[in-house]
């Protein structure tokens, strides 16, 4: 396959891309680069502009301003060069319900002009790899959500793309199916595929991405590794739940002493939580102090910050653009 440039420069380059729909600025000046063979996680809430960026990069949508290139080919002027190099598994699985799993893959292979025999063997290979052999001769309408996602992903891999775009690949999947899909994505990355993955879950980006870009309202608001982003939002959170609401004040004092910032108290659920560094040590300290104070703990644990908490600390507002008071727990 012809290449626009050598292998050491970024394979995806986005420069100041703008895209509006009426007066909605879906993308308001996005620039980013993806290094060959790495995974970029595009993290953002509903309506952030994730799908719009994916559609620009996969030649489905022309940007109003700015430029984007895949493997050195401009996604607007050289889309016929870009298309053979990319694979897309969109936000809604693009599988043909009336075709069987095998027919779906063979049709895509034929539309890549692979030749009949090659198309058939490629379809068989992918069905095996995505654990769809038993369902291969069944119409896709009978598939479960997880199976449809796998078939969709298989279809996006038919031509062994250099860059794979996955738009919220695990949304709507149960935890088991999500883990399975993560494993598949890791395998792909191990074989050298470059991946752009959008997600609403920090945990997912953390699990899969080398680099995370957080977008909100069409703008990049943070960029870095998962560890860096978590550090910026106060790292791990230590949460304590009590059944006796009268003890909340005591718990609050203990967490204030042990934590890195002001704790947040949620009276409705009887929980208090605080950002901590060096979580396990702090956890032990909190347990000891609460024990001394004879507070009965219903539940206690460490957890990663959610997208919402990252947002709160990065932007001062919650991920869902609902009005919020001054962010109590922000760093």
């Amino acid at each position: 396959m012809e290449q626009g440039h050598n292998g050491s420069s970024p394979i995806v380059v986005v420069r100041d891309v703008h895209k509006s729909f009426g007066d909605v600025h879906a993308l308001a000046g996005v620039s980013l680069e993806i290094e060959r063979g790495t995974v970029l996680g595009l993290l953002g809430p509903n309506g952030a502009g994730k799908t719009t960026l994916v559609r620009v990069l996969t030649t489905l949508l022309d940007p109003d301003e700015g430029s984007a290139a895949v493997a050195g080919f401009d996604v607007r002027r050289e889309r016929t060069r870009v298309r053979p190099l990319i694979g897309l598994a969109g936000q809604s699985a693009a599988v043909d319900d009336t075709l069987t799993g095998r027919e779906n893959l063979e049709m895509v292979a034929n539309l890549y002009h692979m030749g009949r025999a090659a198309a058939a063997s490629r379809a068989g290979e992918l069905l095996a790899r995505f654990d769809l052999v038993d369902a291969a001769e069944r119409q896709a309408r009978t598939y479960s959500g997880g199976m449809r996602r796998r078939l969709d992903l298989a279809a996006s891999l038919v031509a062994d793309p250099e860059v794979l775009f996955l738009d919220e690949p695990t949304t709507g999947l149960d935890p088991q199916a999500r883990l399975e899909l993560w494993a598949v994505i890791r395998e792909l990355v191990a074989t050298g595929t470059t991946v752009l993955l959008t997600t609403q879950y920090l945990e997912e980006a953390d699990q899969l991405a080398d680099e995370i870009v957080v977008i909100d309202h069409g703008r990049i608001i943070a960029q870095g590794t998962a560890a860096e982003l978590k550090a910026r939002s106060g790292g791990e959170h230590l949460t304590v739940r009590v059944s006796d609401l009268a003890a909340l004040a005591q718990v609050r004092d203990v967490l204030e002493a042990e934590g890195d910032g002001p704790p947040t108290v949620d009276e409705a659920t009887g929980t208090v939580s605080v950002a901590v560094s060096n979580g396990p040590t702090r956890l032990a300290g909190v347990v000891r102090r609460l024990d001394e104070a004879e507070v009965a703990i219903a539940d206690i644990g460490l957890r990663q910050p959610t997208l919402d908490e990252v947002f709160l600390s990065l932007t001062g507002h919650r991920a869902e653009s609902e009005p919020v008071d001054a962010p109590a727990g922000a760093v």
């Binding site: 016929t80 053979p84 809604s92 693009a94 075709l99």
Partner: protein
């Protein structure tokens, strides 16, 4: 949209094969969705029977048997109503995200719409054949030449194919399949009924007669009747073909442009 030389090369090289792929896919869908087949076969057959037996005695068609008058009209009506399925099918592909997949593949741009219309035209061949069969069973007879008998259904299929392009332009412009259906029937019903499909246009009020006389449906049906009955057909046929050429000249580019600008 930027049209590059590359894009034109892809188009020229892959269009036939890609259209065939999409045709195959749509034909499989027809086979596996019996309800689609029912809509496109039982309903036209029912129309033949209903009109032949219910209105047959009441409509004055001169020396010509009503069934001989009716069948060419019903054929045209069926392929027209059937053409709505082109837009519905495309709208379903747009909403399901299937179009996004096609548009990221290095395939010919025209293949999705053209493959759809080729499948719908194939279905029309089948429907027209079936209706002719039913027509023969209830008394329809050709009175013209053999060439005319062969040309008559061919004109019907060509006419249906023409309207598929209008339907394609609608299907690629709306957001939902139901909208595509409604948006087609809204103008198809008057177009079909204000024509010579079911009744001679002379029976209509003067102002309506003028409209009906100049309708592409009337020209086409009159040409088909001429071919089937062995009466004069050249003048309406030339008009019909001119209408079809005109419609195609507008709606083929429009449908392709609409398809390309789906976002």
């Amino acid at each position: 949209m930027v049209v590059s030389m590359d894009a034109i090369r892809v188009e020229a090289r892959h269009a036939p094969g890609d259209i065939l792929q999409l045709w195959k896919r749509n034909m499989l869908a027809y086979r596996r969705q019996p309800e689609l087949m029912v809509f496109s076969t039982i309903q036209p057959v029912m129309f033949v029977l209903l009109f032949a037996f219910v209105f047959g005695g009441a409509i004055p068609t001169g020396p010509v048997e009503y069934i001989d008058f009716l069948l060419p009209g019903i054929l045209a009506q069926s392929v027209l109503f059937g053409s709505t399925q082109t837009g519905v099918g495309l709208a379903v592909d747009v909403t399901s995200g299937m179009i996004d997949r096609y548009r990221t593949l290095p395939m010919a741009r025209s293949a999705v719409v053209a493959g759809r219309i080729l499948a719908d035209t194939t279905r029309n061949v089948f429907v027209v054949g079936l209706m002719l069969g039913v027509g023969f069973l209830i008394g329809f007879r050709y009175h013209g030449t053999v060439a005319g008998a062969i040309a008559m259904p061919f004109v019907a299929v060509l006419f249906g194919q023409t309207f598929c392009w209008i339907s394609a332009a609608i299907g690629t412009s709306v957001r939902r399949a139901e909208t595509a259906q409604v948006a087609s029937f809204v103008w198809l019903f008057p177009l079909v009924f204000v024509s010579s499909v079911f009744v001679p246009v002379e029976t209509m009020p003067d102002w309506l007669e003028v409209v009906a006389e100049n309708s592409p449906v009337t020209h086409t049906v009159n040409a088909m009747r001429g071919l089937a009955l062995g009466t004069d057909f050249w003048e309406p046929l030339v008009w019909a073909l001119a209408w079809m050429a005109g419609i195609m000249a507008v709606f083929v580019p429009l449908a392709v442009w609409r398809y390309r600008s789906i976002q």
